[in-house]
Symmetry: C2
Subunit: 314 residues, 2 copies
């Protein structure tokens, strides 16, 4: 694949979103299929009327944890003044699978992606196909996650302005048909700025910065507290300080794939992660679960405000 | 790291399991820590008496799905004639986290690892540390999973005799401190043969073969039905046939990391996956959930029989 082919001048792919804003697929095979089983969501375009269920979706919020994404859905009910009919409650639409959870609150989907790039990747493919089958238009994707911070007060929200892998490369490398392929991982700078502007309304710190995305939580993130460790504390600190000097402000495990797939699909996206600790000061997550849960709601507050503003809801 | 240093003549690492069979850690840092928080399991060696809880563990069964691993725990209650006290039921020991589930039935742990290498890797680190803190001896690890098959009747169980990545390399490559490191991914041939011998007692087909482990379910496994696809059906079939000719019999997303980390830790391990479809005939998982669930219990039957035999339980 020639990356240049897939990228126009402003850095956003134009392959799959036409002027109509309609989400199209860069895969002709799916269009010819009699049935498309979205296996890990336990949905199919034959057994479910995906157009009826999802045509009005404009925002998809992704996050690792099932309970945090349920919490976000409940929070959106409140923020959007969404009126559930008497006797109704939110239900996990992917409940027949135990791989992910999927909630819908009007134009907002809240979906869990598990941990790590492969788990996110499966879901991303199936969510994009879901939105395609539903005929959705002008959809924006957010990842609302947790991360380790670098030189930041724990609880700070980092809005990613760029993302690199463990070798500090700004693209996702994957293997297709036995060949290494690279996909550029880019965010929408305007969306990033709009979210940053909104964050000023809240009483917690938010910064923009470079995110490092790794395939391992322990050695992949230079931790000393895994089951294996072949390096010293000095090696670790030298590496983390080098990352800091190169602009890395947080480390997590999905944003590279998120940005690369969204860019490839021509879908506007942003990644907002709260930091649960300062990696320049330690490795272990020892803050109380209550405190970390509160930190985990901070990206939700910014994104909910953005959604309300976009929809004209006060 | 010099791989030769870590491997003795029979291919099994001797770094972390001494003659006593006691599971040791190849990480001195953890031994010096005042507290070790196993964050994603919501356990800690300070808040929990891990020795009391886990000292008798001899077998750890890993699998992707939370419900399948609960089902395995319930199945082990039956197979081991494990007597739960009146009014007791099995409980998810990692229930304060929503990342994984962890059940214990006597000497058997049943734990879910989510999907993909990074998700498994986090859990693997924490389970090994758990067993270390508990002072466990002579522990064997199994992965009981699902996979796509190559040239096999769906429902066939594949016991991996070797594993390769998407570039057909028999090792796991990971990035540590900005450097690529390779870890050999090897299984215990004797355990593999013992499981194969046991499989003859069951009325479903079981084979040994090479497993390919990928970082993506769609393009990474040459599927035509993802959100993106830049290749033709001919390209796909040529690639899959090439895999078959090289001895690959199934494709999944965790075994490379499982074998590499177990080998590095000197822990005996095996991977048994049922195949849910023949990839030479299609991409989509269209069999009924009931049928696929039954297939998913097949690796459990072989492993449960192995455990019972080892423990002298009929």
């Amino acid at each position: 694949m020639d990356m240049a082919e897939n990228t126009n001048q402003n850095g956003m792919s134009s392959a799959t979103v036409g002027k109509s804003g309609l989400l199209d697929l860069k895969n002709e095979h799916v269009k010819d299929m009699e049935e498309d089983v979205l296996y890990h969501l336990a949905l199919s375009d034959k057994t479910h009327d995906l157009k009826d269920m999802f045509h009005d979706v404009k925002f998809v919020c992704f996050g690792g944890s099932t309970s945090r994404m349920k919490q976000l859905a409940e929070y959106m009910v409140d923020k959007l003044h969404y009126k559930l009919p008497a006797g109704h409650t939110l239900s996990n639409i992917a409940g027949s699978s135990d791989r992910y959870v999927l909630y819908k609150v009007g134009p907002v989907l809240s979906v869990s992606h598990g941990m790590g790039i492969p788990s996110l990747s499966i879901l991303f493919h199936e969510v994009v196909k879901l939105l395609y089958h539903a005929g959705c238009k002008d959809v924006t994707f957010f990842r609302l996650g947790t991360s380790g911070g670098l030189g930041l007060e724990p609880g700070t929200v980092v809005i990613s302005d760029s993302v690199v892998d463990g070798l500090l490369r700004p693209y996702m490398e994957m293997v297709t048909l036995g060949t290494l392929v690279q996909y550029p991982a880019l965010f929408d700078p305007i969306l990033c700025q709009e979210l940053m502007d909104i964050s000023a309304d809240f009483d917690f710190p938010t910064v923009t910065g470079k995110t490092m995305c790794t395939y391992d939580f322990y050695e992949g993130q230079a931790r000393l507290d895994g089951a294996f460790c072949d390096y010293s504390e000095d090696d670790k600190m030298a590496f983390l300080k080098q990352l800091y000097d190169k602009g890395v402000r947080n480390i997590e495990m999905e944003s590279l794939c998120f940005a690369a797939m969204a860019h490839r699909g021509g879908i506007k996206c942003a990644v907002l992660c709260c930091t649960l600790l300062d990696r320049l000061k330690g490795d272990q997550l020892t803050s109380s679960h209550e405190l970390m849960n509160e930190w985990g709601t901070r990206p939700q507050k910014i994104v909910a405000e953005y959604i309300c503003k976009t929809l004209g809801i006060e």
